[in-house]
Amino acid sequence: MSAALLRNLAGSAFLALFLGVGFYVPQVRAGSLDYQLAPRLVAEDTWVLIGKREDFSRSNGGNIVNTAFVVTTDGVVVIDSGPSRLYAEQMRSAIARITPKPVIRVFNTHHHPDHFLGNQVFADVSTTALAETIAGQRREGGAFADNVYRLSGDWIKGTEPVAARDPVGPGTLLIGDHRFELIALSGHTEGDLVIRDLGTGVLFAGDLVFHNRAPTTPHASISQWLAALDRLDAITYRTMVPGHGEPVSDGRAVEQTRRYLRWIESALLQAAERGEEMSEVLGLELPKEFAEIPLAREEFARSVAHLYRGYEATTLRHRR
């Protein structure tokens, strides 16, 4: 290793330590890593664990996602396993405080880390997802786990990405006394599983629906996502559980998500057609209805990174 490179690395390490960037910072107290999961009854047999409307951090440990479980006569069905091993362990404890029945099935609505990194805690039961989701979990799980560890530290310790075992397609599935309709959509990711409990009328929408939390787009196809929202509009439900944000009993969360996606698509396309550069687009003003949504500015900046080059490419021409 040359002296110059050594100096370079040394400087990097020093600065990283100095700023606390990229380095593991221990949590304040051991034993304080309690997600304080409080299942909320939203329908008969149906409990939801509402996550914070925040991004991954060292204070929330990734408890930024809605997970749920349904207590059937045969056992408990879990919908999304959360962001970490610790979360899923604490989720299982929370379930055990409500019912003595065993967990018999875990669904992953899609392949994003906050929805499946708890899978390793459910190695004893069927973990089920769309084939596209399983492929995504296998492809990107390692990078997700590394990134979540970087963002949330100790909470993520011991978390190994485990892809769902059993692929599933659209159809109905009877589990105990609950009949579930599985609806295979896409748009937020390549595979977005929506689950409707035909008895209770609860619709688990996954991350196709965000409610008062800015949508995320790292694997999004906006056109497919908008088409999926139209499909959701055609489905009847009593309660909709979005992937992030408060459950609703009407279409307002779908409509908010739709309006945001339409705006981001037209704003980015128009900016590209004006010839703007990515760094300039980052400064675009957000409409008031979105500017006040938590994480709107941060997610907009991320979406520019995910989506802008695609719109930009449509404005450039080859020499003829």
Partner: protein, 255 residues
């Protein structure tokens, strides 16, 4: 693998580091311990001032560390001869160098960031003084040591060096945006040698140069550049260039 190496280096650094490093760091608005090295290596003994007229903009956090958008805009500073862009903490520090020879002294591009780093533009004026501006961009890492995305797709050799472009114009200014197909391999991904565009020039129909660039490994794959002109762009604008393997780039800019 990487972390133990850093920690080893840290120990050495703390033992041998002269106190002057810390004094110089205090001058740097970005408080980078690399600043003295950067200055010594690229600017030598020339006079240096931190100057807000050299504006760098980009994201606070690099969501995609393979494509970090950066704009350099220099306004109110006359007789800018050349501009160096560096990322202090990148394994390959120098990103590019450009000289406006009629184009406005600004440039928009995307780059790779291996980790959070200052990104600086250092503009030398005719009197020899370097005017330095910059921002800090945080990154999760991996931008320089990952193989280019296009390598995994068959047929990248068929589009190598192809250029797409577009010109926008309003009452006072125009912009030329270019996209060049090239893997821009850094040489830091295992088994893939450095393969990157090293020279670009925007020339008019008469062969006069309006902007020249020396580009290096940290420039993004299939790079996109935007150049700004006061008034309409020169007639018959052509992009001429080459990569480090001797492949030529020659494309007429499409309006």
């Amino acid at each position: 693998m990487f972390l133990p190496c850093l920690f080893t280096a840290l120990v050495v650094f703390v033992v041998v580091s002269p106190a002057s490093t810390f004094a110089a760091m205090a001058d740097d608005p970005l408080q980078s311990p690399q600043w003295t090295d950067i200055r010594d290596r690229y600017l030598g003994a020339d006079k240096v001032v931190f100057d807000p007229r050299v504006a760098v903009s980009g994201p606070k956090i690099a969501e995609d560390s393979m494509n970090v958008p950066v704009s350099v805009k220099i306004s109110g500073l006359v007789d800018v001869r050349r501009v160096l862009v560096v990322a202090d903490l990148n394994p390959i520090v120098k990103v590019l160098e450009f000289s406006s020879k009629g184009a406005l002294p600004s440039l928009h591009f995307r780059m790779k960031l291996q980790q959070g780093s200052p990104v600086r533009a250092m503009a030398q004026t005719g009197d020899g003084v370097w005017h330095v501006g910059g921002i800090w961009i945080d990154a999760s890492g991996g931008g320089c040591t990952a193989p280019s995305v296009g390598r995994s797709a068959a047929g990248w050799t068929e589009t190598l060096g192809q250029v797409q472009s577009r010109v926008w114009q309003n009452e006072t200014q125009s912009r030329v945006k270019l996209n060049i197909m090239h893997p821009m391999d850094t040489g830091l991904a295992p088994g893939i040698p450095a393969f990157y565009i090293e020279r670009l020039s925007l020339q008019d129909a008469a062969g006069r140069e309006w902007m020249t660039l020396d580009t290096f490994e940290p420039v993004s794959e299939n790079p996109v550049f935007s150049f700004d002109f006061s008034g309409p762009p020169p007639a018959g604008l052509t992009l001429v260039g080459r990569d480090n393997n001797g492949n030529r780039i020659n494309a007429r800019v499409v309006k």
